[in-house]
Symmetry: C2
Subunit: 432 residues, 2 copies
Amino acid sequence: METPKLSVTPYKGTRDFYPRDMKLRNWFFGKIRKTLEDSCFDEYDGPMLESLDLYAAKSGEELAKEQTYNFTDRGGRNLAIRPEMTPTVARMVAGKMGELNYPLKWFCISNMYRYERPQRGRLREFWQLNVDIFGCDTYEADLDVIQSAIDVLLAYGADESMFQVHINNRRFFNDAIAAIANTDAEGSKRVSKVVDRKNKITREAYEAAMTELGLSAEQIARIDALYEMDVREATALCPDSTGAKELTALFDALEATGLAKYCVFDFGIIRGLDYYTGTVFEVFDLSPENNRAMFGGGRYDNLVGLFVKNAKISGVGYGMGDVTLENFLVTHNLVPDLDNEGIKILVTRFDDVPYEKYTALVKSLRDAGLTASLYLGQKKFGKQIDYAVRDHYSHVVIMGGDELASGTVKVKNLATREENSVELDKLSAFFA
Amino acid sequence: METPKLSVTPYKGTRDFYPRDMKLRNWFFGKIRKTLEDSCFDEYDGPMLESLDLYAAKSGEELAKEQTYNFTDRGGRNLAIRPEMTPTVARMVAGKMGELNYPLKWFCISNMYRYERPQRGRLREFWQLNVDIFGCDTYEADLDVIQSAIDVLLAYGADESMFQVHINNRRFFNDAIAAIANTDAEGSKRVSKVVDRKNKITREAYEAAMTELGLSAEQIARIDALYEMDVREATALCPDSTGAKELTALFDALEATGLAKYCVFDFGIIRGLDYYTGTVFEVFDLSPENNRAMFGGGRYDNLVGLFVKNAKISGVGYGMGDVTLENFLVTHNLVPDLDNEGIKILVTRFDDVPYEKYTALVKSLRDAGLTASLYLGQKKFGKQIDYAVRDHYSHVVIMGGDELASGTVKVKNLATREENSVELDKLSAFFA
């Protein structure tokens, strides 16, 4: 019986990383890692499988079940493949709460799965950079987190013409609404909920909802005006609000550190209404064909409290997906030609030279710190050169019987086609 | 109602990687990556989720279901979290079979899941280095793969007193058994199966089974003798066997490349009886307290044939788990003190100095390529120093009002306790 053949296609919404793709991924992640380590962020990671409870506690059981790949193991445990990193990192902080050295500056670059319909910029398997600072409640941590996002983009060669950080503060948002609506806390919460949906509903529906909550046309206009204000004008509306003070301190610090040119106040940035508690921000791609929020984050309180009674450790952070980042870098032509970087040497092989002469040659190159390999197998010379070209070797080293007798080799630069005759014992120096 | 608190423990058989653990993991993987890239291996990766069929086709459906985390998605697809990399890489090679440039020298360092009882050296989530060469049928590829395993261990500082590569050849194994048993192909296959179980059953049971298959005491003794022979003696038993010729070519090449001192012929290395077809090897830890096979691999034929009709691309490779590797390195004291490597500077902070003086100072250090961070928040000086010590900073830079006025800073080396007064504009040079 003939075995039915298996499909070569990866599972829907996931990717195979062939060497060329992987080189790009390593370049992406290498830049991130170096940038964050240089500013003293520490990398961490957690397991791919977590208890489903972790996500149910944050998002509700129904949503958690709908958005994750989840199943029950043979011990009856409900598990999910992690769809995000935040519950894992909160669990880890809670697990060593008393031993850790605060403030924590942590990051990870991990893969995760979301059960959703694959579309541009959204896949079922993706990698995400997560940056968080735990245990510092003031603007310095907000600044450090926003700076890390800017630094990562700058490390790729981006500049202020390509991206912009839009910043708001959830406490300020609530206080400004309350100051204008002039209702009790409960009333202004209801108004906030409508304002949160402002861009998702028609203008008519928005005004009707606001009027129903008792707001006058003048009050609605004053809220509209907030979207056009800079941070000084906006915070002047309720200068005694904690949120206004936080915003002012953050923008002063952005100014003082030369980061103001990348940043703008934006009353329209709200993010998860029940989740974020202070500074919130989103990073926008400024390219005309792709003008949209790429990623964002902000300050959230006390996720650790899900694990440890009466614990209170606030955090501020963001998550940036690899697909979004790659789209941004491609749009702005920031991906270099990774195929043709550095020296990579193929030593070709002939029948009339003993094998050990070749292996010794490769060893001498590698001992000198060079990237080098011997052609595997015994194909014709032309095939070996084709192999080297297709695999983006920069040079081939040719040592036939004649060369061996004279103690020299030929070195061919595959880019320039230049050929040199080099004494065998000066070969490593030739590449230095 | 009080929310029940969630567990802080990671799922059974998985690990949290706190920054210290992650630093170790990055060091492990960095060594591997550098070693393999220096010899022109290319990194790849595939998705965590694959069709369950992939594993069922290789190991049978029952075993595949038992050993993997598997479930059905909402589209009715049977999925498994990958328990190994080989089916994925075979699928990837099959998917671009006509476009790829052979021989392929590929590796990956990926996490995978196996559903088994966690025990020493075995976890449910682990990382595995997979190295494979596809499309070269001769000893050169076997040598290159074995050399890569040796090179990785040497890169960690291991030497020939710590590990040894045991090598056999499955074709030679069959031919030697056939030559001694002197039966037809079917008969010698039955004998091979018994020999494969030699170390798993009692001597009495072994001899009884061999006798039942018609072998004399003298034939049994001749097979026993193979376990004591070196490669020359063993291959002399059936010099015309393809397997014997492959073994001889491989050992000649190991000799010629100076790798013989790490390697030994071992007739007892068989590995999966139905899977491997040529060279097989296992790498042993030589430490008395941990003397056992750490990992192994060999030549297998035509996994690509599971996907593409009439395709035939042979491969040779191995998989090395991170837990085994870590045990080996710890046993042999090969893990360096990663906490205290290089310069990492904390700039401490006082109230009487404007914030932007500090951020400018940190920026100047980072622009000079140094790893530096400003203390976040406004704790007392002593707390800031404690933080630096616990977080393994090498230096603190101290700039209070007096220092600022005089244009100098104090630099304290936390290891030596040495303190220097340095002019502000010479600070980067001080660390150079």
